[in-house]
């Protein structure tokens, strides 16, 4: 309590510096006057009386110093002084400052941008409820059709009939949804309007697709199981992106009829912003249609072909259900289903039947074709970026070391004038930290611009809003890159200065003095550049 009150007082008295300085002067004067008077009464001569009084009072300057330290917050004050000093020194060396800040900015910015992309493509889960509960069929991405009753290595695409069999018999899934691996383009226009049709990607999905992901419509309603039945009125869900960009978030779109390839669909809802379907790709679907409308739109429909396997499966498992036992259950179901089609099988299919199996893999990231396609390249990119960051650090370290050498003469001079070693180290550190902070701030700007640029290259189609990746740089990565550069700056900055005091001050001065005799004479004699009007050494920290 007492300490807190004192701290606040000290903080306050920081502002009223001048006033309390005058107060101390007045008090000292008064004190000396009283003591002198008493000495006079004791019979001393006026001069001697004054002299004794001053002697008895003690070292006035030391007391003033002590008083100042008690009054304000010396730590804060020296911090401000050091910061000012460092800023002045950085201003005096613009080439060094700009090079270092730019190097740091590029290093931090580039690393952050690339890691943001890597993070989004390789590591991020779908923006859906509890992505950890999702499992998908298949170990490897496979596209887009498989015919017959056998598949090489694993059964990873299924026909609609097999999907229904698996969906209805697998107890471990609370929901199991299906959708084709391909994403058809539709010619779309609002029904009754004369505008030219525009091509937008769409996706057929099973009726439980949205409930499986735990996604509610942003406006209107999502698709339901009753929409996905033969003979149900054709409905569609539109993407938020299309609704916002093409129709200006017009509420009348919901309930309106749109022609997709000249077939009328009623739009019943809008997906939430940020939802990009089951697959990270550069053109996410703009229309989600029930699977059962596939024959309605496509002339050569696949829906009712038992042996055309074209559907991907993603399911949400019952909480706590072990995926391995679901997988085993589904393998049995697969054999049963294949067995029920024994009559239609070719001789090859029959021979391959004992080898038919399937696998489940975590589906929280959706269908990860892009991940598998780019994983290798992104990893290489990531390594390259790490090296770039290392190179940046090495460069900054070099710049700092050179600066430390240049500084040696100044350091020796400061020490000769009585500066304290720790204070000099603090000054060097302040300078390094300031540089890192500037570099970090500039790096933030580069990271924002760079992330957008990289995403623009990675997803050229669809404009910014179509990109299913958040364009703001990932904060942890930014902080990490900033931390690394800060550590580099501090380490090299401190090492450069710490090396100096070990040398003999005078010899260091002598050596540098020889080589720079004229220059240092000029410097010491006249006012220093950037510190005009102050005597030489005024900018140096003094002892005590």
């Amino acid at each position: 309590m007492r300490t807190l009150r004192r701290f606040l007082k000290r903080l306050g008295s920081w502002a009223t510096k001048q006033q309390s300085e005058e107060r101390l002067t007045a008090e000292i004067e008064e004190h000396l006057a009283l003591q002198t008077a008493e000495n006079l009464r004791a019979g001393l001569s006026p001069v001697e009386a004054r002299r004794r009084a001053v002697l008895k009072f003690g070292a006035i300057e030391a007391i003033r110093e002590d008083y100042r330290d008690q009054r304000g917050l010396p730590f804060l004050e020296t911090l401000v002084q050091d910061t000012r000093h460092a800023l002045r020194r950085l201003r005096m060396a613009p080439a060094f400052t700009i090079t270092t800040v730019l190097t740091l900015a590029l290093g931090i910015g580039a690393t952050t941008s690339i890691f943001t992309l890597v993070h989004a493509v390789l590591l991020k889960a779908l923006p859906v409820a509890n992505p950890a509960e999702l499992y998908r069929l298949g170990k490897e991405a496979r596209c887009c059709y498989e015919g017959g009753y056998s598949q090489d290595k694993e059964f990873s695409l299924v026909s609609y009939d097999l999907y229904k069999y698996l969906r209805d018999n697998t107890k471990g899934f609370s929901e199991l949804a299906a959708f084709p691996a391909i994403e058809p383009l539709f010619g779309v226009r609002r029904s009754g309007s004369s505008e030219a049709a525009q091509a937008y990607p769409g996706e057929f999905v099973s009726g439980n697709y949205f409930s499986m992901f735990g996604i509610n419509a942003y406006a209107g309603r999502a698709l339901t199981a009753s929409d996905d039945q033969a003979g149900a009125p054709p409905v569609a869900v539109m993407s938020y992106r299309l609704w916002e960009q093409m129709y200006g978030s017009d509420p009348s779109v919901i309930g309106a009829v749109f022609d997709l390839d000249d077939k009328p669909f009623t739009v019943v809802g809008i997906t939430p912003p940020g939802f990009f379907g089951d697959t990270l790709r550069n053109a996410p679907p703009d229309f989600f249609l029930p699977l059962n409308t596939e024959p309605f739109v496509e002339s050569d429909a696949d829906l009712n072909k038992y042996d055309t396997h074209w559907l991907e499966l993603i399911g949400r498992i019952q909480p706590g259900a072990p995926p391995a036992s679901i997988e085993a259950e589904m393998r049995v179901e697969l054999r049963q289903w294949l067995g029920s089609h024994w009559g239609e099988m070719s001789a090859n299919d029959r021979a391959a039947l004992p080898n038919q199996t399937l696998f489940l893999s975590p589906g929280g990231a959706g269908i990860t074709g892009m991940r598998e396609q780019y994983e290798h390249w992104l990893q290489i990119l990531m390594m390259v970026t790490t090296f770039v960051l290392l190179i940046v650090c090495a460069n900054v370290a070099n710049l700092m070391l050179v600066r430390g050498m240049e500084r040696r003469r100044q350091t020796s001079l400061s020490m000769a004038l009585g500066a304290q070693g720790p204070r000099l180290v603090r000054q060097a550190l302040t300078e390094s930290i300031l540089l890192s902070v500037f570099g970090g701030a500039a790096g933030l700007a580069v990271a924002f611009a760079g992330t957008r640029l990289i995403l623009h290259f990675a997803f050229p189609a669809g404009g910014m809003a179509g990109i299913p990746i958040n364009a703001s740089p990932s904060m942890p990565v930014l902080l990490f890159a900033f931390g690394v550069s800060l550590a580099t700056g501090i380490e090299t900055g401190a090492r450069g200065i710490a090396a100096a005091p070990k040398k003999e001050v005078t010899s260091a001065l002598a050596i540098t003095g020889q080589s720079n005799a004229r220059q240092s004479c000029d410097r010491m004699g006249g006012p220093q550049r950037g510190e005009r009007g102050k005597p030489a050494g005024a900018g140096l920290p003094h002892a005590g």
């Binding site: 000292i28 008064e30 009283l34 009072f57 003690g58």
Partner: protein
């Protein structure tokens, strides 16, 4: 003559508080003189060192100060004990006596007492 002792760290503040408690408001010089008198000139006190201590006590709220006129008609800054300061002094006094008592026992102890 017995050698003069330096003022023990932290005890100067306590002396200031006690002096103000006994004598009422005083200026810096007055406090310095009283401390020297009471200690029987056994303490070497650089009188100036008093001022940082006074400032610290004031910041803590133990004393307050105001300009006033001194006995020889000069402007001087007078320090007085606050209620907080009085409480602080009492607590410090208790602590000090306790410490002194403990140390006293250690000095008084003889080898046979512990057998």
């Amino acid at each position: 003559m017995k050698e003069k002792t330096d003022v023990l760290q932290g005890t100067l503040a306590l002396m200031v508080l006690k002096t103000l408690d006994v004598l009422g408001p005083l200026h810096g010089y007055g406090i310095a003189r009283r401390i020297e008198q009471i200690s029987g000139d056994l303490l070497t006190l650089n009188q100036g060192t008093l001022y940082p201590v006074l400032l610290k006590l004031e910041q803590e709220g133990s004393i307050s100060s105001d300009w006033d006129t001194s006995e020889n008609n000069r402007k001087a800054r007078f320090y007085r004990l606050t209620r907080d300061g009085r409480k602080h002094l009492q607590a410090e006094t208790r602590d000090w006596e306790q410490t002194a008592a403990i140390i006293g026992r250690f000095f008084a102890v003889k080898a046979e007492d512990l057998k």
